[in-house]
């Protein structure tokens, strides 16, 4: 039995973990660095311990020792997929709420994990030392010795392959001192579809269906949903089987995710395995009724899974939007400031996992994700309408954010038709700015009423100092 858990994380995920722990009657411990001294996650725990960095496993483990915590939940990011924390936990006799160190290590090595999956019969992106069959085109020529795009060539036609290999080989030789190249399948306009898995220490493993995570910016997910509009029941079953095979191949214990890319032809390939709870886990919870953190705790306590694959069902449709402190209109640059007005939406089918409240400070030290807005409805189109409703009710002022941008994305006709892949935002770059820059007359009126009796500030100073004069709705006096 776990009685006290330290969350080695911050923001919304630390708070989300504490929430389940509190419902299970387990005591909670937060850690925080100096910039987070006043953060909401610290106030949400029973007790808290100051540390220098979320990236120092020794510090985390001694904080757990000091608080008398018998387990550590790593959340996502930071040390969650780093064997140094799981190893330090083992040495200290503290339960690490995650997979075995050996699993983290093997899945962290992208080449080893690919070899292992191939052996287990999980499809991986095919590659050839010599020439592939004509039907496999387009292909990529890649350098054995390095990456970063150097020595890489996209080849559309078999006739162009020889020349491309020669050019890539010359480039690779110059760049890496190794002119060997190989040929890999090129998946055009892929979707990113991942499967949630759960495994226990008794050898049982199940998948908890998929999450479609194709809407990305800067290679980071922005909107996730389940079920994927791209999967037929047959394809879902085959991918689910592959995910379970992947879990069993490494004797996976706890919650993890098997990431696939899926081509427009419906062929899928193993990409990597994430050995932790994902940011987007709520959409799985909304459609299956599971509490994945609760399952993680129960597995870490040594319990067998309390269900089998056939007990699990997908019901309805769920979408998650990540609320970032960033300016999509300015290349998604992050913004900082004080949350002056915070009125998140509520009501039927709306879930909010938030790391902030009114008056929270958003600094530049950590990830700019502030909250996750999640909806559930009976169908995909109803879920989109619910998300539109929820986003248009969400008031967040004081820190620039992507709420209006998210509304534009989910309102795009091709999003509505489920025509999404990882290049969606590049293809629809018009979404980066509003259709019209025009400010409605009512907004000018509201601003004019609020500017009341104070004069405009003059002078040449850059207007970049955050000096909050008013917050909340302006009071008519």
């Amino acid at each position: 039995m776990i009685r006290k858990v330290l969350a080695a994380n911050r923001g919304e995920i630390a708070i989300r973990i504490f929430t389940t722990l509190r419902e299970m009657g387990i005591h909670t411990v937060a850690v925080y660095t100096d910039p987070d001294a006043h953060a909401l996650h610290v106030r949400s725990a029973d007790e808290s311990i100051r540390i220098e960095s979320y990236l120092q496993p020794d510090e985390i483990v001694s904080a757990a020792r000091q608080a008398g915590a018998d387990a550590i939940h790593p959340g996502y990011g930071f040390l969650s997929e780093n064997t140094s924390l799981s190893t330090a936990c083992e040495a200290a006799g503290i339960t690490f709420i995650g997979p075995r160190t050996d699993t983290i290590r093997r899945m962290g090595d992208k080449l080893e994990s690919k070899r292992l999956m191939e052996k287990a019969g999980v499809p991986v992106v095919p590659s050839w030392d010599r020439n592939p069959h004509d039907s496999e085109f387009p292909v990529l020529v890649k350098a054995v010795g390095g990456g970063g795009g150097k020595g890489m060539r996209l080849v559309e036609e078999p006739s162009q392959l020889a020349e491309a290999k020669a050019a890539a080989s010359r480039e690779a030789g110059k760049a890496f001192g190794d002119d060997r190249v190989f040929v890999e399948k090129y998946v055009r306009n892929p979707r990113h579809i991942e499967f949630q898995i759960l495994g226990d220490a008794h050898g049982n493993a199940v998948h908890v269906f998929e999450r479609e995570c194709s809407i990305q910016r800067r290679h980071q997910k922005v909107i996730e949903e389940t079920p994927s509009p791209a999967l037929t029941p047959g394809l879902r079953a085959r991918m689910g089987d592959a995910a379970v095979a992947a879990a069993k191949a490494v004797g996976y214990v706890n919650a993890g995710t098997v990431e696939f890319i899926v081509g427009p032809d419906g062929r899928f390939y193993f990409l990597e395995m994430n050995t932790r709870l994902q940011v987007e886990h709520p959409v799985t919870e909304m459609t299956t009724g599971l509490d994945l953190v609760r399952e993680q705790i129960r597995i870490a306590e040594g319990n067998p899974l309390s269900f089998t694959q056939s007990d699990l069902r997908q019901t309805g449709h769920s979408i998650e939007c990540r609320i970032y402190a960033e300016v999509p209109e300015e290349q998604f640059r992050p913004d900082i400031g004080t949350v002056a007005v915070y009125r998140p939406p509520s009501g039927a089918g709306v879930r909010l996992d938030s790391g902030i409240e009114e008056n929270s400070e958003v600094g530049f030290h950590y990830d700019p994700m502030l909250a996750k807005l999640v909806v559930w409805a009976g169908s995909r189109s109803q879920a989109i309408h619910k998300m539109q409703r929820a986003l248009s009710e969400f008031v967040l002022l004081g820190v620039r954010n992507n709420i209006d941008f998210l509304h534009r994305v989910i309102s795009h006709p091709e999003f509505g038709e489920g025509k999404i892949d990882t290049h969606f935002l590049e293809r629809h770059s018009a979404l980066l700015r509003p259709a019209t820059e025009e400010v409605p007359v009512e907004a000018l009126l509201a601003a004019s009423l609020s500017s009341a009796r104070t004069p405009a500030v003059t002078g040449s100073a850059t207007a970049a100092f955050t000096d909050v004069w008013t917050s909340g709705p302006w009071r008519i006096s």
């Binding site: 950590y366 004081g398 907004a443 500030v457 207007a463 970049a464 004069w469």
Partner: protein, 160 residues
């Protein structure tokens, strides 16, 4: 009933408005339009029989207005003045847009740069962002170095 006159800047265009109000009822003059309104309460207006719930946040002369599910940004300016930000932008100064760490300086003193060419790469909140040259010209001063932590507004590079 002379009312207050205000000047707003949105992007490149300047808008002059006049607001007359007495006891919660008023008229808003914008361009040729005269729009009657009622102040219904805190953060709540009535215009043409329609309820409008709004929130305004002010940071110096920068206003964020949430209205009808969207957030708009306006800058309040002196009559006839250009927007403050614009005035700064034309000066050839490259400043840190937020606190963070300088990762790389992509130019050297004496280099000729084109407008919008990346000059400094910074890291804030674990993300890289590139600061472009505000105009074409020659780099005459570099006042930062890779690894340096800088405050928001710090002058990094000057272009002439």
């Amino acid at each position: 009933m002379t009312g207050r006159e205000l000047h707003w800047n949105k992007g490149a265009s300047e808008t002059q408005v006049r607001i007359e109000e007495s006891g919660g009822h008023g008229i808003f003059h914008i361009g040729e339009q005269a729009i009657p309104f009622v102040v219904r309460g805190q953060g709540w207006l009535e215009v043409n029989g329609r309820n409008i719930r709004y929130y305004v946040h002010r940071d110096r002369n920068e206003y964020s207005i949430w209205i009808d599910g969207r957030t708009y940004r306006l800058t309040r300016i002196q009559k006839g003045a250009h927007a403050l930000e614009q005035a700064g932008g034309a000066s050839g100064e490259v400043r840190a847009l937020m606190p963070g760490k300088v990762l790389r300086v992509e130019v050297a003193v004496g280099d000729t740069v084109k407008e919008r060419q990346p000059v400094v790469i910074m890291e804030s909140m674990k993300m890289e962002s590139s600061l472009p040259a505000p105009k074409a010209g020659a780099v005459i001063a570099i006042e930062c170095a890779p690894g340096q932590i800088v405050e928001m507004g710090t002058l990094l590079v000057t272009i002439e």
